[in-house]
């Protein structure tokens, strides 16, 4: 049986979540591996959410927000955009493969794009195999 990764998706309410809904109303099929959590704005996504998800057994984390310039709150997505490299650097220090966390812009009319991103990400994470973070973190905790 092939490995089915578990991916947590954090989607902003105004563009990306609506775009994911559009994929549904347009009946665009995609991999079932991403489970979506809605936040009001991508700026709300605390790096700890990502760490928490990886800690709790996620094999990947997908973050989606409005395209630059489209933010419902003017520039929340820029804030996410600036946090993202820091987050990636942090994850790299933990030895987490870069493909496991991904930031994408999805608008409310991009149902197909959302589906494509999910499929692509699922494939990439599947190729990486199960995340060893959960066990690593558990060992780490135990040692402390």
């Amino acid at each position: 049986m092939t490995f089915e990764p578990k991916i947590v998706g954090f989607l902003c309410n105004w563009c990306s979540y609506t775009g994911a809904d559009l994929a549904g109303t347009s009946r665009i099929h995609y991999a079932a591996n991403v489970r979506i959590i809605r936040v009001m704005c991508s700026a709300r996504i605390d790096p700890t959410f990502v760490l928490k998800a990886l800690h709790d057994g996620a094999d990947g984390v997908l973050i989606c927000g409005c395209h630059p310039g489209d933010c419902h709150y003017s520039e929340g997505n820029y804030k996410m955009m600036r946090r993202y490299p820091l987050l990636k650097a942090l994850l790299a220090d933990y030895g987490i493969e870069k493909d496991r966390v991904r930031l994408e812009w999805v608008s409310a009319s991009e149902g197909q794009r959302f589906a494509d991103i999910v499929n692509d990400m699922t494939e990439r994470v599947r190729a990486l195999g199960p995340s060893s973070i959960k066990t690593a973190l558990a060992t780490d905790m135990a040692e402390r």
Binding site: T18, L22, T25, S26, G69, D70, S107, A108, S109, G111
Partner: protein, 602 residues
């Protein structure tokens, strides 16, 4: 005071609406009027000669009266200065500006002239009495202007009846992919508003409905709305698509502007509000066969909410104010033969391209050319086929299609330059390597951030050619375009794979009927006439009737939204005080004369 009245006509508007002879004799009887002269059409007014006349008659106020007397004012002002009189004492009696070009034009023109002779601004004198206003508001048209106006009023806690002709609100904006100049996605900013309208407890949303009859008076209008048989129960439908799945009838989709098909049982687009299907009686087999055939959707509907035998229904509403937000249609490009729209498959209109490039459109936003498909049943046709269609290597965009043209519409449609630039951006962005040409006359990038946007598009590599294309034609199976590149001083004649026609805007079909129902004036092109071009751009001569958005004249989204919100001010003000203005159209000459006389002190 000695006043001279000079009738000067510029020949603008409905010049026969007023009886100049009658106006002249009226003017002669006004107090202090010493001289009345009819100078005719487009008179040559020599300031020096006139200064002599002013001196000879010792006039100290001049009134220029006519359709658009401002054209002659500088000459008279100069004459006054030369004659040593106060140049400020040149008053305009502008018939067109104050609604004397329609209805009882002569009486109105006289009142305008009386005000000018007294030195009182007409709008200050011509204020109708107030009348009690009902709290409800009717909004005709569910595009962005209707939505905006509805939300402004409903958010204030006032009842709104929003009547929309099609099966969903959203209007043209819902069809767009991106909006200029910020390129934000139309759906992202529009759909939340649509959902708000659908869920608002103060908005009575009536889609698939039309205004059938209007009676009553300002503040107290009775509206008959024909709710067309949707044949699907909106409150029960869960938009599951079963009816469309089983429906055997395919027709072209209005929402996709004909570049894709829909079923007879359909939803205009997935995010429609209300999110419910409808049965198009025109193409439904069951309805067309009087119930003899088909009816399969009703049988299969899991919610049993389809009633194919449903009939139209008339609903009566009582409202205090009416907002017209009927928007626009686009110019029929087939009327311009030289572009071969309708003959050459890859000549597309702007709205067709909007759907083509839209991520939720028939091709998922892929810009491709049409493919020929031959079938026994339908013969030869050109369709967008996502699998077989190839992206165009070159795209030409032609501005001013049907606009700024004496042979079609003489006016500028205001939005086409900017949306054409947006198209160029989408083409260069989605098809790197594809060449994109803009053929324009004047690049009208006038709004906030527009000029910067135009600069950006040019920097992105779009060839911007000053000169409107003269012809699109086929030569040896290849589409060709011919135009003059004026700045480079040469003729261009080259092959293109796709041509986009930036079609202009025309008043929405049916708006003339509404104007008739309300006794509302329209301009020569059919756009609703506002009360006062500068001072009152959203009111009309009819009390309690407002205009918002593109139905008054072509307008882009920011301007439409601003105007729609502005309309709400008039409505909310009248509801807040319980009193609204009567129709200025009904004001009698004597009323205005009396008020103007009482205001003379200023």
């Amino acid at each position: 005071m000695r006043i001279g009245v000079y009738l000067c006509q510029a020949g603008i508007g409905d010049v026969d609406a007023v009886n100049l002879h009658s106006i002249a004799s009226y003017a002669a009887n006004l107090p202090s009027v010493e001289v009345v002269r009819d100078l005719g059409l487009l008179p040559k007014v020599e300031p020096d000669a006139f200064a002599a006349e002013i001196r000879a008659e010792s006039l100290d106020r001049l009134v220029i009266a006519g359709d658009t007397p401002g054209f002659f004012k500088p000459a008279f002002t100069r004459a006054m200065a030369l004659a040593g009189e106060d140049p400020k004492e040149v008053r305009l009696a502008s018939f067109n500006a104050f609604g004397a070009s329609s209805g009882n034009g002569t009486a109105r023109a006289k009142s305008v002239l009386a005000c000018a002779a007294l030195g009182v601004p007409f709008p200050l004198a011509a204020v109708p009495d107030t009348t009690a206003v009902r709290p409800g508001t009717l909004i005709v048209g569910g595009g962005i202007s209707g939505i905006q106006a509805a939300l402004e009023i409903a958010d204030a806690g006032k009842q709104v009846h929003l009547v929309e002709r099609t099966g969903t609100i959203g209007g043209h904006m819902a069809m767009f992919d991106k909006t200029f100049p910020t390129l934000d996605c139309a759906a992202c900013i529009l759909t939340p508003k649509m959902v708000s309208v659908g869920q608002h407890e103060m908005i009575d949303l009536m889609t698939y409905s039309e205004v059938a009859h209007i009676s009553g008076s300002p503040g107290d209008y009775t509206i008959k709305v024909r709710k067309k048989a949707r044949r699907v129960d909106v409150s029960a439908c869960v938009a599951c698509n079963v009816c469309a799945d089983v429906c055997p009838q395919r027709v072209t989709s209005e929402f996709d502007n004909g570049i894709a098909e829909r079923k007879a049982a359909y939803i205009p687009f997935p995010q429609a509000v209300p999110n419910a299907y409808l049965i198009d009686a025109e193409s439904c087999t069951y309805v067309q066969s009087d119930g003899a055939k088909c009816g399969v959707c009703a049988k299969k509907c899991p919610k049993e909410c389809i009633d194919l035998d449903q009939a139209d229904e008339i609903v009566e509403l009582e409202v205090g104010n009416i907002i017209l937000a009927t928007g626009y249609d686009v110019y029929d490009a087939t009327k311009i033969e030289r572009y071969n729209y309708g003959t050459l498959p890859n000549v597309l209109t702007a709205l067709e391209f909007e759907r083509l490039t839209n991520a939720s459109g028939p091709t998922g936003g892929k810009i491709i050319t049409k493919t020929k498909r031959v079938s026994k049943k339908r013969g030869e046709e050109w369709v967008f086929d996502v699998d077989e269609g190839v992206p165009p290597k070159s795209v030409a965009i032609i501005h001013c299609v049907g606009s700024r043209d004496a042979n079609h519409n003489a006016y500028c449609s205001r939005v086409c330059c900017m949306y054409s630039l947006k198209f160029a951006h989408l083409v260069t962005e989605k098809l790197p390597g594809a060449k994109c040409y803009e053929f324009y006359i004047d690049m009208r990038a006038f709004g906030k951030g527009y000029e910067e946007f135009a600069n950006r598009i040019k920097a992105e590599g779009t060839f911007v050619i000053r000169g409107r294309t003269a012809k699109v034609f086929a030569q040896d199976g290849q589409m060709m375009i011919r135009g003059e590149d004026i700045i480079s001083d040469r003729l261009v004649d080259f092959p293109v794979d796709m041509v986009l026609l930036s079609v202009g805007l025309i008043p929405a079909h049916g708006s003339a009927d509404l104007a008739t129902m309300l006794g509302l004036a329209t301009d020569d092109d059919g756009w609703f006439s506002e009360l006062d071009y500068n001072a009152s751009p959203t009111e009309t001569e009819r009390g309690g009737v407002f205009v918002a958005g593109a139905c008054q004249a072509p307008k882009d989204i920011p301007d439409t939204v601003a105007q729609a919100a502005a309309v709400a001010a008039g409505v909310l003000k009248s509801i807040a005080t319980g009193r609204g203005l009567n129709s200025r159209a009904d004001l009698a000459l004597s009323d205005i004369e009396r008020r103007a006389t009482s205001l003379v002190r200023i």
